[in-house]
């Protein structure tokens, strides 16, 4: 498919990329391109220009601090997260990235792209919401760091504004995490997903049931409490050809229990 005519720049630094994005309302950041290029083919989006982030070293890499904090550059690919020894500090991250699509997509797709797209069926928004991630957004006027609860604003919508970029994802230390999903085919698109983290408190984040991840804090990790928390959220998920709203709500409850059980085993 021939794309609509588009401008292109491949800046070598973060500052340059932000200047390019800020100077042109019609410009969009191009991360791994595994969503955006297909969106452009379908004319569901037609940016005037693309600012390619693939040659910006500042946006890459995974660092593990002495206290167990993980700092992940937004342009780190799924494959890099799967293969990274540092990322094993929060091993659920690599385990979930290994379930995304296929080898080719994992080689190009990035954690930052996945989060900034905020497609409700994406794996990583509920996961990083459950893990207590903080996200750093940089613009012309400097950087700010916000929790996941303030990052996801709506379907395909995040706190990253015009002229801004998500630069890094920071995960606190933790080891008792879980993730469960029902997908279209093995490792396909999520119909419903749940992530859990039992580090200090119990946190469950549900995917595919609302515009943004639904974060719950059950009173305990017991199955009855987890089910009660999901039922208490009064979910109103979308219906489509793959799953009715009622079925998705049912899956959310079952998957929350599975994710918590996996977290207990970790």
């Amino acid at each position: 498919m021939l794309l609509r005519e588009v401008g292109y720049a491949r800046p070598g630094s973060l500052g340059e990329a932000i200047e390019l994005l800020a100077a042109d309302d019609g410009a969009r950041a191009l991360a791994g391109g595994q969503t955006l290029i297909n969106v452009m083919k379908a004319r569901a989006g037609s940016p005037d220009a693309l600012v390619d982030l693939n040659r910006i070293d500042e946006l890459k890499g995974i660092e593990l601090a002495a206290d167990g904090t993980l700092e992940i550059g937004a342009m780190t690919t799924y494959t890099e997260l799967v293969e990274s020894s540092e990322a094993r500090a929060r091993r659920i991250l690599g385990e979930v990235c290994a379930q995304i699509a296929d080898v080719q997509v994992r080689n190009r797709g990035t954690i930052g792209g996945n989060l900034c797209t905020n497609d409700p069926t994406n794996h990583l928004p509920p996961l990083i919401a459950a893990l207590g991630a903080k996200l750093t957004i940089q613009g012309r006027d400097g950087a700010r760091t916000i929790p996941a609860s303030e990052f996801f604003l709506g379907v395909y919508l995040t706190a990253v504004g015009p002229g801004e970029l998500l630069t890094k994802i920071t995960l606190p230390a933790g080891r008792n995490d879980g993730f469960a999903a029902v997908t279209l085919g093995l490792e396909g698109t999520c119909l419903a997903s749940a992530a859990a983290s039992l580090n200090g408190s119990v946190t469950v984040a549900l995917g595919c049931v609302d515009a943004v991840p639904v974060v719950l804090q059950p009173a305990s990790a017991g199955e009855d409490e987890v089910r009660a928390a999901v039922r208490g959220a009064n979910l109103d998920p979308p219906s489509d050809v793959h799953a009715s709203a009622a079925y998705r709500a049912h899956l959310a409850e079952v998957l929350a229990v599975r994710a918590v059980k996996q977290a207990q085993g970790g």
Partner: protein, 155 residues
């Protein structure tokens, strides 16, 4: 921002310098501009893997990458696998195991399996299946493809 630029790519050992529009997908550049038509376009939505290439050592679907993004890259396509008439072990195994019928998916399958065996010469059965997950075949039911890759491995 510029809507076209001059790029230089090295494909199967030959360096090509061409002007290209930013909107051109890498698969279209390789097929239409360079006449390397071994790589196929199946779905054009990133699902089928027929356009798989190895770019700077990394297996990618070239319908989800712009040609301008490949500027300065070294690319391997299916045309570069064999040395003259000498098939690679993997290609011979595809022939021996009847791992293709219509052949449309074969270039992508070969590139994915080549990338797998390079990184992991002795893959497990599950690793072979996972490595081919991004490539769709509508003829063979996959079993013969799996057998061919297994036969070409050291496992």
């Amino acid at each position: 921002m510029e809507t076209a630029q001059s790029i230089s790519v090295t494909i199967n050992g030959t360096t090509y310098e061409r002007g290209v529009e930013a909107r051109k997908l890498l698969i279209h550049f390789v097929r239409d501009d360079l006449d390397l038509t071994g790589s196929h376009i199946g779905c054009d939505t990133g699902n089928c893997g027929a356009c798989s290439l190895i770019v700077d050592g990394v297996l990618v679907k070239s319908c989800m990458m712009l040609a301008v993004q490949a500027d300065g890259s070294t690319i391997e396509t299916v045309e570069g696998l064999a040395e003259g008439d000498e098939l690679t072990t993997l290609q011979q195994a595809f022939s021996d195991h009847h791992a293709l019928q219509c052949g449309y998916c074969t270039p992508g399958m070969l590139m994915s399996a080549t990338a797998l065996l390079r990184a992991n010469p002795s893959p497990s059965d599950d690793e072979i299946k996972k490595a081919l997950q991004g490539n769709i075949c509508r003829c063979t039911g996959y079993w013969n493809i799996f057998e061919a890759v297994k036969a070409a491995s050291d496992a």
